[in-house]
């Protein structure tokens, strides 16, 4: 018997989790994440030895449904199919190649530690755990570092053209606050090259007939039988037909939910619906308020802006951030003399200056914008000025270093960043939170596994740059195949639900009823209008800075908006055929529920940690953790009353997974 079959009960925490400051929140139980006991460094090896395997001849008897085809989903689908399992892969995009892993720019970390800069597995784990402000799992950081070696080799072999030294060895670069060079990259398009490599391997299995691919297909609900996940209900986005796919296990690799803020660096189609539907059926949601805001995004330029484009952080190596000293200064940047400029990062954080970490830089930028120092036509940005670097190094050097970014800025903004300062602003980027999973990446619903950004493992309260491509790849290629096979081994001889079983029919009816409900409201406001409004509430109430007051205000606003949505949303067109307004409405309906929990989690967690910054808990602008009371991951359950249609009130229960650190001792971050 393996640990994955142990009951879901807990080891004791030294201090019991505190009661919640959020009204109405119930305190639940302590969770066992099923992390192997003992040395975290050897945990993964020991766990793999415990895992059961399925005889190759029996593998084709099992069906696995994989939702999402990014690095985690495509990897898991391809790897499981290579092993001989029957896989169904679903994505909302027209091709699996387009999943949003493709947009990652900077690189992928690996603890290969070949050079003599004294990198090591231990250093990788320290950086990851510290970067996550001691709210992630130590044993998982070890696994991430250990499997990173195979990830690089695999990606290299299947076609990722990693940058090379002239001597032919793999090149690395430094990245985000780490003192060694362990980031592997392909120019500024590392995500694209890894994603395309994974996609190609998925297509190889499609060609072999082991993966059945369902592009332009969106998951609407989860099929549950005897408390376990046994398939998905999906909508074909071309025909509009809703159908069921039964399975022995389901993997959600559906990405992050940053688009709940409306504006984010995510693709406009990214959504939380698959994860939220699973959550509403019992899959706990871990640390939903842990959201990373990226400091260097293009600012909003028109009220119609649909997303914020990321400008790689590398620009901060040569750019100086500043705002006019005088609030509301309308002069052109070139007309503002040196003495009337505030280089706010250099002033506030003299040691790290313009290279302060993401969360600190983001908060400092927002502070300037909020206090009336914002620049640009909408007064919503700060300057990132290359002028000094151009003077020092010459225009040619700067252009060579950043040409692709500067060209993108030129196209998007219509200004020449070699002549006038770049305007940037912080925006929503990555969600460390997600569906809570145990060490085996299984959610609190048996048979439902979650990989990549969609889960809440690895990154704690803040993700380190270049660790996202890594965690998605490790989950997909080198954790899920082992863990899912172990789970399936225990199901040998058991049948999947029949298509006319109650399990399938009830899930089907839930999905159909929701779709019809959205079409029937016929109100006066579009789904996009609700989404924008929700984004404003969240950005103000649960953005870079959170307070008891801002969160309580946001919760009230979100609840009201959700009631209005179900009375006033306007969806034109029909359920059959392509209907993008209907797709959007379904996603916004789920965002309106998720957003409340996001704020409730932020209100509940009465400390600051990583990206979660409660203004009540700071010292000299730095997050102040409360390890005595909050050294645990929150795992939320949401329930709704039976009359939810007329009374859309949600009830939340916070379970707690205590965190233990064996080889690394918690310390406070300091960048001043």
């Amino acid at each position: 018997m393996t640990n994955s079959t142990l009951p879901n009960t807990a080891t004791a925490m030294t201090t019991p989790p505190p009661p919640s400051a959020a009204p109405g929140v119930m305190v639940g139980s302590q969770l066992n994440a099923r992390i192997p006991d003992g040395d975290p460094e050897t945990a993964w090896l020991r766990r793999r030895q415990e895992y059961r395997v399925v005889n190759p001849a029996n593998r084709k008897k099992f069906t696995v449904a994989v939702v999402g085809t990014g690095l985690a989903g495509a990897g898991a689908a391809a790897a499981l199919a290579e092993l001989g399992f029957e896989v169904h892969a679903f994505c909302y995009q027209d091709s699996p190649r387009r999943a949003h892993s493709i947009a990652a720019q900077g690189g992928i970390n690996a603890a290969r530690a070949r050079k003599v800069d004294n990198d090591s597995l231990y250093r990788f784990v320290v950086d990851t755990v510290k970067g996550g402000d001691f709210r992630g799992r130590e044993a998982e950081a070890y696994r991430l570092g250990q499997e990173s070696v195979r990830v690089i080799d695999h990606m290299n072999a299947i076609g990722a053209p990693f940058a090379r030294e002239y001597g032919g060895a793999l090149a690395t670069r430094s990245f985000g606050g780490v003192q060694v060079s362990r980031t592997y990259y392909t120019r500024g398009q590392t995500g694209q090259q890894l994603q395309l490599s994974a996609y190609q391997q998925l297509m190889r299995q499609v060609q072999a007939g082991t993966v059945k691919l369902h592009p332009r297909t969106e998951m609407l609900d989860l099929i549950m039988e005897d408390g376990a996940a046994r398939g998905v209900i999906v909508r074909d986005l071309v025909t509009g037909e809703i159908h069921a796919q039964v399975a022995d296990a389901v993997i959600l690799a559906t990405g992050g939910y940053g688009t709940v803020y409306y504006l984010s660096t995510l693709a406009v189609g990214c959504n939380a619906s698959a994860a939220w539907r699973a959550h509403r059926l019992g899959a706990y949601l871990g640390n939903p308020s842990m959201v990373q805001f990226h400091p260097t995004c293009l600012p909003v330029m028109t009220p119609w802006q649909s997303k914020t484009i990321l400008m790689s952080e590398s620009l901060r190596n040569d750019g100086r951030m500043w705002v006019p000293l005088k609030p509301g200064d309308e002069r052109a940047p070139g007309d503002i003399p040196e003495a009337e400029r505030d280089y706010y990062l250099e002033r506030k954080y003299p040691a790290y200056g313009n290279l302060s970490p993401r969360d600190i830089s983001s908060r400092a930028g927002k502070e300037q914008i909020d206090s009336g120092h914002g620049v640009g036509p909408m007064h919503n940005a700060t300057y990132l000025d290359l002028a000094d670097a151009i003077k020092r190094l010459g225009a040619n050097t700067i252009w060579e270093r950043y040409s692709n970014l500067l060209e993108m800025y030129r196209i998007a903004v219509g200004e020449d960043p070699m002549q006038v300062p770049i305007r940037i602003a912080p925006n929503t980027h990555y969600t460390m939170g997600g569906l809570w999973v145990d060490y085996n990446l299984m959610s609190s619903i048996p048979g439902l596994f979650v990989g990549g950004e969609a889960n809440s493992s690895y990154h704690g309260a803040n993700r380190l740059g270049a660790n996202s491509l890594l965690s998605a790849s490790v989950d997909g290629w080198f954790v899920l195949p082992y863990a899912v096979m172990d789970y399936l081994a225990g199901r040998l001889g058991q049948a999947r639900p029949a298509l006319d079983s109650t399990a399938v029919l009830s899930a089907f009816e839930r999905a159909q009823a929701r779709t019809e409900a959205l079409l029937q409201v016929r109100g006066t406001r579009t789904p996009a209008e609700f989404h924008k409004q929700l984004g404003n509430y969240l950005w103000e109430g649960c953005g870079l800075n959170r307070s008891d007051k801002s969160l309580k205000t946001a919760i009230g606003q979100i609840r009201a908006l959700r009631s209005e949505f179900w009375q006033d949303v306007l969806v034109t067109g029909k359920g059959l055929g392509v209907n993008q307004t209907l797709e959007k409405a379904g996603r916004v309906a789920d965002f309106l529920e998720l957003a409340e929990l996001l704020c409730v989690d932020a209100l509940d967690r009465d400390e600051s940690c990583g990206a979660h910054f409660r203004i009540e808990h700071q010292a000299a602008g730095e997050a102040v953790r409360d390890d005595d009371h909050w050294m645990f991951a929150s795992a939320w359950a949401t329930t709704a009353p039976l009359d939810f249609a007329t009374n859309p009130t949600l009830r939340f229960t916070r379970h707690a997974e205590p965190l233990h650190y064996t080889n690394i001792q918690p310390a406070r971050r300091n960048y001043q």
């Binding site: 072999a157 299947i158 990693f162 940058a163 032919g168 392509v578």
Partner: protein, 248 residues
Amino acid sequence: MKLTLQIWRQRDTKDPGHYETFEVDQLDVGMSLLEMLDRLNEQLVHEGKEAIAFDSDCRESICGTCGVNVNGRPHGPRPHVTSCMQRLRSFRDGETVRIEPLRSGAFPVRKDLVVDRSGLDRIIAAGGTVALPAGTAPDSDAVGVGHDQVERALDFAACIGCGACVSACPNGAAVLFTGAKVAHLSMLPIPAIEKVPRAEHMVAAMEDEFGPCSQYGECALVCPQNVPLTAIAFLQKERLKSLLHPRV
């Protein structure tokens, strides 16, 4: 800013389709082409009409989801820029702009501006892959690859699979797309092991659904990633080699 838009409307694949004219006013030159469509759609929904269906996702020119023909040109007036990054400042105030789906015989229209480009996925499935199961890869530093070699491979690997090349081609050929993948994988030591069957299978899949190449070069003129036209020559070369290769 004001524009007159002639937009292709088509209920489904069987519908013959038609142009519908819209006047859009108070546009901001900083808006993207697709944000203009977003705004028009909001207006249409408010009027109780169906929104114009169009594809887009990352909206930062890397996913390859978007793509419409603007005044007959794939992606829009600014060369080598995806539809999502095209800005209205490229148009004259008062101009009439015709927006159609990415036209090609190989890309059936599903609705309005949405086309089916799955033919491109089938070309990749046929051989744009590496037969190497997870976990079996050798150490990446065991086989060195030259710095310039990798950079050259990346020039081809950068293709975003948007299909603009196919739409720009008078023959509806997918040779730039296919050639880019063949070139990319042939330049890396492990994927290159399969280059003979790859060229053969990918070309067969390509010829099943797409037209022949007459070397007009229109494809490379619109490619948002500037995939070099030499991809075409590369494909011909690899294909020839595969034909001459002894059968086993």
